[in-house]
C-alpha cells in the first residue's frame, strides 16, 4: 500500500507584529511544519512500521524556501517528497481551495496512492477544506477530522473514529482508496533522530512544475481574493494588572478572596 501525505509549511506570527497591506510584514513571520500535518506524517510512518504501507510519499505546494520543512517530514520517516512549484503560482492566492485541489489531484493521478492523509487544517489560514475537496475531485472516499485509524485496513476498508463536537466520536467504516483528514492527538509525533535527519538529506525530493504534472497554468486562478487584513477590534474591557509578578499575583489573590472562592 502506498500513502501520500500532504505537507504544508505554515506561517507563524510573533506576539508583536505589523500588517502591511493584506499581509503580515515579513520580519514578524516564521515558518513551521503544519501541526496537523505532523500528525498525518506520523500516522503514515507508523502504518509503514506496522508493515501495512510500503511507501510514504509527501507532497507540498510551495517555493524552494519550504524545503527545510519538507526535509523535516523526510527525517521523521517519509520515503520521498514531491514539491510542486511554478512561476505561474507566484501571484496566485493559495487560499483558494480549488487551486490546491487541482494541483494535488494531478499528483494523486500520477502517484496512485491507496490512502491520502492530510491535516484537518493548516494552522495559519485554517480553511480545513482541501482534503475533502481533493477526495471528491479524485473520486475517492473520505473522512474529515479523524482521530483514530485501525491499523489493519483489510478488505479495502479503513475503520476510523471521527472526532465530533462535545466529546463524541463517530465510528465509521470508509472504503479505500480514501482521503482522511488527520486530527491532532491521533498519535504522538516523533522528534526526528540525528540519523533520520542525516538520511533525509539523501532522500529524493522531486520538484515538479505545473506542466510536469499535466496542469494547465491557465486553470489555476484564485476565485477568492483577500482584500483586507486588520487586527480585530477588541470589544473587551479587560482590567490589566501591572507590576511585578508578586504584585500582579497579589491583585489576583485579592480578587479570588473577594469572590469568596479561595482563602
Amino acid at each position: 500500500m502506498k500513502i501520500l501525505v500532504t505537507v504544508k509549511e505554515v506561517a507563524t506570527v510573533e506576539d508583536e507584529f505589523e500588517i502591511e497591506g493584506t499581509e503580515i510584514a515579513s520580519q514578524y513571520l516564521g515558518a513551521d511544519l503544519n501541526e496537523w500535518d505532523d500528525y498525518a506524517v506520523e500516522e503514515a510512518v507508523q502504518l509503514q512500521e506496522n508493515g501495512i504501507a510500503d511507501e510514504v510519499v509527501t507532497v507540498t505546494i510551495g517555493p524552494e524556501d519550504c524545503e527545510q520543512t519538507i526535509r523535516q517530514a523526510l527525517a521523521k520517516g517519509a520515503d520521498r517528497a514531491i514539491r510542486v512549484w511554478d512561476d505561474a503560482l507566484e501571484g496566485v492566492d493559495l487560499l483558494d481551495v480549488n487551486a490546491k485541489t487541482e494541483i494535488l489531484s494531478a499528483v494523486v493521478e500520477a502517484e496512485e496512492p491507496d490512502l491520502v492523509l492530510t491535516g484537518v487544517q493548516a494552522g495559519d489560514d485554517s480553511f480545513g477544506a482541501t482534503g475533502v475537496s481533493l477526495a471528491e475531485e479524485i473520486g475517492a472516499q473520505w473522512g474529515a477530522v479523524v482521530n483514530h485509524l485501525e491499523h489493519d485496513l483489510e478488505d479495502g476498508v479503513a475503520s476510523v473514529r471521527r472526532e465530533l463536537e462535545g466529546g463524541v466520536e463517530e465510528l465509521t467504516e470508509i472504503d479505500l482508496p480514501a482521503v482522511l483528514t488527520i486530527q491532532t492527538g491521533i498519535n504522538e509525533p516523533r522528534y526526528a533522530s540525528l540519523r533520520g535527519i542525516r538520511q533525509a538529506q539523501r532522500k529524493e525530493l522531486d520538484v515538479q512544475a505545473l506542466a510536469d504534472i499535466g496542469v494547465d497554468e491557465g486553470t489555476i486562478e484564485s476565485e477568492l481574493e483577500l482584500t483586507e487584513m486588520y487586527e480585530p477590534e477588541s470589544e473587551s474591557d479587560v482590567t490589566v494588572w501591572e507590576g511585578s509578578a508578586d504584585e500582579t499575583a497579589a491583585e489576583l489573590g485579592e480578587l479570588l478572596r473577594e469572590k469568596g472562592v479561595a482563602q
Binding site: D15, A129, T184, E188, T227, E228, V238, A245, T248
Partner: protein, 317 residues
C-alpha cells in the same frame, strides 16, 4: 435576487444550535437583495425538524428523508440536486465537524469556490465579502468572491432565529445513488469520562501550551491545590498525554461555566473559547498582550507564567 440555500445540522436525534444561527445568517444574506431563504433538512426525523426550524425569515424548507444519521455522500448528493433545482447564489453550511465533511465536496462537485469558518457576510448580489480570521485569531481578513459560492459559518457568531415562520415545507425527492455511498457509521462513543467532571468545578486553573513541558505541570497542580481548585487544560496538553482527556475544555472537550476560570498560557483559539466563554469571571495569564484570550478576559496579567504562578501559589499557602 440572491437566493440562499442553508443546510441544517443535527446529531443523534437533535438539531444543533447552529441550525438556528444559520437561519439568521442566511436571512441576512438573502435580505440584502430581497431573495428567498431555503433550508435543507437531510436525514433523521425530517418532518419534526422542519416544524422546529419553521422560524421567522425562512421561505421554504426542503426535507430529504434518507437514513437516520449524517452521511456525507447523502448530503453531497442531496445538496447538489437541490442546488440544481433552486439555483441559489449561496449555499451556506455550518463550519461544524460534519459541515467540513461535506461542504468542500459540494463546492468541488458544483465547481464553486468555498470560503470556510466565516464570522461576517455581506453581499450586493454579485460580490460576496466574507470576514474570517487567520493565524489563530490574531488577524481578521476580508475575502472577496464573485458569483455563486459555498460558505460555512462559525457557530455562535449569529444569533439564533426565533419566532414562528410560515415557510412552505416540501419533501424533496432526491435521487440518492446508493452505489456512490462509500462510508458507513457504525456507532458513537462518548469520551472523556472518568473520576473528574471539570464542568462541576467552581474554580478552574486551566493550563495551555505556554507550560512548555510535562515536567512543569506540577506548577499548575500546586496552584490548584493551594486554591482548592480543579485543573483543566487546552487541547495540546491532552494531545501530548500530559493530562487525561476529561480535563480538556473546548469544542471537542467539555463546556465549562465556573465562577472563575484562570487561563494560563492559553492563546484563546476559537475551539477553546467555545468551551469556556460562559465562565463568570475569566482571568488570563499570558506573555502575549495581543493573544485572542484577552478579548474575552475580565482580568489579565501580561507576564511570564513561570513568575506569576509560583507567586500566586505562595499567596495561598
Amino acid at each position: 435576487m440572491t437566493d440562499v440555500l442553508a443546510v441544517t445540522d443535527h446529531r443523534r436525534g437533535d438539531l444543533r444550535d447552529v441550525s438556528y444561527e444559520i437561519i439568521t445568517a442566511g436571512r441576512e444574506l438573502a435580505d440584502e437583495t430581497g431573495g428567498n431563504l431555503h433550508l435543507a433538512v437531510i436525514s433523521g426525523t425530517v418532518d419534526e425538524f422542519a416544524d422546529d426550524l419553521n422560524r421567522e425569515g425562512v421561505d421554504a424548507i426542503h426535507t430529504v428523508d434518507h437514513g437516520e444519521e449524517f452521511n456525507h455522500d447523502v448530503y453531497t448528493q442531496a445538496i447538489s440536486q437541490l442546488y440544481d433545482e433552486l439555483a441559489p447564489q449561496y449555499v451556506v453550511a455550518p463550519n461544524s465537524v460534519n459541515g467540513l465533511d461535506y461542504a468542500p465536496a459540494v463546492a468541488n462537485e458544483l465547481d464553486l469556490p468555498i470560503v470556510t469558518d466565516t464570522i461576517g457576510l455581506e453581499t450586493d448580489g454579485e460580490t460576496l465579502l466574507a470576514t474570517r480570521e487567520m493565524y489563530g485569531g490574531k488577524v481578521e481578513t476580508t475575502n472577496e468572491l464573485e458569483g455563486a459560492a459555498v460558505v460555512t459559518i462559525r457557530s455562535a457568531e449569529w444569533p439564533k432565529a426565533e419566532g414562528t415562520g410560515d415557510a412552505s415545507i416540501e419533501a424533496f425527492d432526491a435521487e440518492i445513488d446508493e452505489d456512490a455511498i462509500g462510508s458507513t457509521v457504525t456507532g458513537f462513543e462518548e469520551v472523556g469520562g472518568g473520576d473528574v467532571d471539570i464542568s462541576e468545578a467552581d474554580v478552574l486553573v486551566s493550563v495551555g501550551r505556554g507550560i512548555e513541558e510535562e515536567d512543569n505541570i506540577p506548577l499548575i497542580e500546586d496552584l490548584a491545590e493551594a486554591l482548592d481548585a480543579t485543573v483543566s487544560s487546552s487541547r495540546p496538553i491532552v494531545d501530548n498525554g500530559w493530562l487525561p482527556k476529561n480535563r480538556q475544555v473546548g469544542q471537542s472537550g467539555k463546556v465549562v461555566t465556573p465562577d472563575v476560570y484562570i487561563a494560563i498560557g492559553i492563546s484563546g483559539a476559537v475551539q477553546h473559547v467555545a468551551g469556556m466563554k460562559g465562565s463568570d469571571t475569566i482571568v488570563a495569564i499570558n506573555t502575549d498582550p495581543n493573544a485572542p484570550i484577552m478579548d474575552i478576559a475580565d482580568y489579565a496579567i501580561h507576564d511570564d507564567l513561570f513568575d506569576v504562578v509560583p507567586a500566586l501559589t505562595e499567596e495561598f499557602q
